[in-house]
């Protein structure tokens, strides 16, 4: 068994494109579900809004790719309104059902032959992001490492990435410190610093194991900075009176309504804000690949983002950023581990005579089973995420 393969896959996934676009999407879902309690099961639809907005600029409208960003925001707002208007006055189930059905509608429509002219059918849209791709300071065909002492590293990129590393490590350290500090504030400072340093060290070591191609690397720099900035905004917003109303609605919307807040309007704001953030996830994902494909926005994507979010912890900005990292690291670990296992067992994995893996495509199935199990167990035993706060957990019984 080649542990080195497994390790490389796991660590690359930690900061990879998948973790990046999931983080953006999870920040949005966190606003909706984590803070406002709105069970949006149509996040993939919002992501598709972003992807297709930028994809269609060149393909259909024949305008510069950069127009895609404002168009994406407009799409997301419209999509959010369509979702919200019929459901936000009703109980939570309706929102879940309608959002998932609408996202499915979007997927069906964009992949249809009928609307191929606009959306490119099941092949999607390719080669639209040339103005993003070509402006890259990184050569798309060479490999870039995050490791500051590697040969192929680009100074600009590694500085930028180190900055976002620092942000991430501060967030992660903050969480670990909260978790480890026995009495909330005592010894907080030192532990906080120790954790941050430990995380930084881990990141440096992890970076040695990983490398990305030029386009991915550029997308990662842009995407993670975007995630950090948006995360910062949400952090501030949730500490403002606006955030207080939003959190109140999650706890009990009738109580908030009785205090004179227009709950419907606030829910709509949260739904749309989260959707607009998710739209950036779609944009970043599609430009990082230079293509838009409808099947990347299936309902399962929403559920995976949800799992990643719950893994990091609901109603915490840090959770929505670290969760996706851990999520993809775990997935890639399981995938690589099973691949290696299958390889070292001669392509066949039998347990008690049950042929678990007989061809490599079976591995994906188990990876998804792991996702499902993760979602179930986290939701039941650790709704506050892996680094959840005990006090808050105790309240869940109520």
């Amino acid at each position: 068994m080649n542990w080195s393969n497994i390790l490389t896959a796991t660590l690359s996934a930690f900061f990879g494109v998948n973790a990046m676009y999931f983080a953006l999407s999870a920040i949005g879902l966190n606003v909706q579900f984590g803070y406002a309690g709105l069970l949006n099961f149509g996040q993939a639809g919002f992501m598709a809004c972003g992807a297709y907005a930028v994809g269609m600029t060149a393909h259909y409208y024949g305008i510069s790719f950069w127009w895609g960003v404002p168009i994406a925001v407009v799409y997301a707002v419209i999509f959010g309104l369509i979702m919200g208007v019929p459901t936000l006055r009703l109980r939570a189930d309706y929102l879940a059902i309608v959002t998932i059905a609408l996202a499915e509608c979007v997927r069906l429509i964009v992949r249809s032959v009928t609307f191929k002219k606009y959306f490119g059918g099941s092949d999607g849209i390719n080669q639209f992001a040339n103005s993003f791709v070509s402006k890259t300071p990184f050569n798309p065909s060479s490999k870039y490492s995050l490791y500051p002492f590697a040969d192929s590293v680009n100074a600009v990129g590694s500085v930028l990435l180190l900055v976002s590393f620092a942000v991430c490590s501060v967030l992660l350290g903050h969480m670990l410190a909260q978790k480890w500090a026995k009495e909330e504030r005592q010894g907080f400072q030192t532990k906080w610093i120790i954790s941050a340093v430990a995380v930084m060290a881990f990141l440096m070591i992890a970076s040695k194991q990983t490398e990305y191609d030029g386009l991915s690397f550029k997308s990662l720099v842009v995407g993670w900075i975007l995630a950090a900035v948006i995360g910062g905004f949400i952090y501030m917003l949730m500490r403002s009176p606006w955030g207080r109303v939003i959190k109140g609605i999650r706890e009990d919307e009738d109580a908030v309504r009785s205090l004179g807040k227009n709950v419907y309007s606030y829910k709509m704001q949260a739904l749309i804000l989260g959707g607009v953030i998710a739209t950036f996830s779609g944009i970043m994902f599609s430009v990082s690949r230079g293509s838009v494909q409808p099947d990347n926005y299936s309902r399962d994507v929403t559920f995976y983002v949800l799992t990643a979010l719950v893994l990091g912890g609901l109603a915490k900005v840090s959770g929505s950023i670290v969760g996706p990292m851990l999520f993809w690291a775990i997935l890639s670990f399981v995938d690589a581990f099973l691949n290696e296992l299958a390889k070292s067992w001669g392509g066949h994995v039998d347990i008690f005579g049950i042929p678990l893996i007989t061809e490599s495509s079976h591995i994906g199935v188990y990876v998804q089973v792991v996702i499902g199990l993760m979602l179930v167990f986290l939701m039941v035993f650790r709704p506050q995420g892996l680094f959840g706060n005990k006090k808050e957990m105790a309240l869940d019984g109520h």
């Binding site: 403002s240 009176p241 109140g248 706890e251 009785s258 205090l259």
Partner: protein, 291 residues
């Protein structure tokens, strides 16, 4: 009650004097009503939960709404505060027609209610619960949320007001705890003080004493009287007849959705229709035992 007369506050005397000449009959007109409902009906499937021909609530008074379980008191509250819509009927608050007005708007107009099943926001701290109650907050606009200088001053003001209220309701020691850690009685207090953060004209309390321990009940009584002293009108649902007697200026009795009696506490406790309603609903238990 004679003993009470001496301890009555100035506002209480005014309120009782204003109601002294009002006839004790259902739907009677009051000298200065703050809330009026007319022909309000609401049925669920076969059951008519509320069928109020006319009722007025006197401004500046403490009015008790009593009646057996299932009489429609909570539904009446829901209808008045737009948490539910009646099948027919009209109702006014402070002279304004409330038909079609949304629930949150009624709170803005100065009408605030609490719930029979307490709704404390468990995963928010007590002080956050309180601050949520303040109306007209600039920082509640999302674009201001990101610009703390637009709301920080107001926030400090609100916090001071919230702290004062918490101190008055003896919740200040729980200020930074999650509301979910409070006891049932403390939650009732929190919900009431949070409602007061809206600076209401009319406070509608749905069973504020349910589940509150006797010691706390006494101070709650004082608090409710205090509200009247500050110029607020109080309408509350209660089952404890002693307490109703103690603090209310006027009593309205509901049964099977209808207002069956109105009057001062003394008039009500000797009203045969009321005794009948309770006895009917409770199959022969004595009134005092049950209430």
């Amino acid at each position: 009650m004679a003993t009470d007369e001496q301890t009555l506050s100035e506002t209480a005397r005014i309120a009782r004097a204003a109601l002294a000449n009002v006839a004790p009959e259902p739907g009677v007109a009051k000298p200065d009503p703050i809330m009026t409902a007319e022909g309000v009906r609401r049925s669920f499937g076969g059951i008519t939960a509320v069928d109020v021909e006319r009722v007025e609530i006197q401004r500046g008074s403490i009015t008790a709404l009593i009646g057996p379980n299932g009489a429609g008191k909570t539904t009446f509250f829901n209808l008045m505060t737009a948490f539910d819509t009646p099948d027919t009927g009209k109702w006014w608050f402070d002279g304004k027609d409330l038909e079609g007005v949304q629930a949150h708007k009624t709170a803005d107009m100065g009408m605030v209610r609490t719930f029979q099943l307490t709704k404390s926001l468990t995963k928010m701290s007590v002080i956050e619960n309180m601050k949520l109650g303040a109306t007209g907050q600039k920082g509640e606009k999302w674009w201001n949320g990101l610009l703390p200088f637009t709301w920080l001053a107001q926030e400090r003001e609100i916090e001071a007001r919230a702290d004062a209220l918490l101190a008055r309701f003896k919740l200040d020691h729980m200020r930074n705890e999650y509301a979910g850690t409070l006891s049932g009685g403390q939650r009732k207090l929190l919900e009431m003080s949070r409602a007061l953060m809206t600076n209401p004209k009319l406070v509608m309390l749905d069973e504020p004493m349910a589940g509150v321990n006797p010691a706390l009940k006494q101070s709650l009584n004082q608090h409710i009287k205090g509200l009247r002293d500050e110029g607020m009108t109080v309408l509350f649902v209660e089952h404890d007849m002693d307490m109703v007697h103690d603090i209310s200026d006027w009593v309205i009795v509901m049964a099977e959705g209808m207002i069956i009696a109105e009057g001062t506490p003394d008039q009500i406790s000797s009203n045969p229709a009321v005794i009948d309603a309770y006895l009917g609903a409770h199959q022969g238990k004595s009134l005092l035992e049950d209430l």
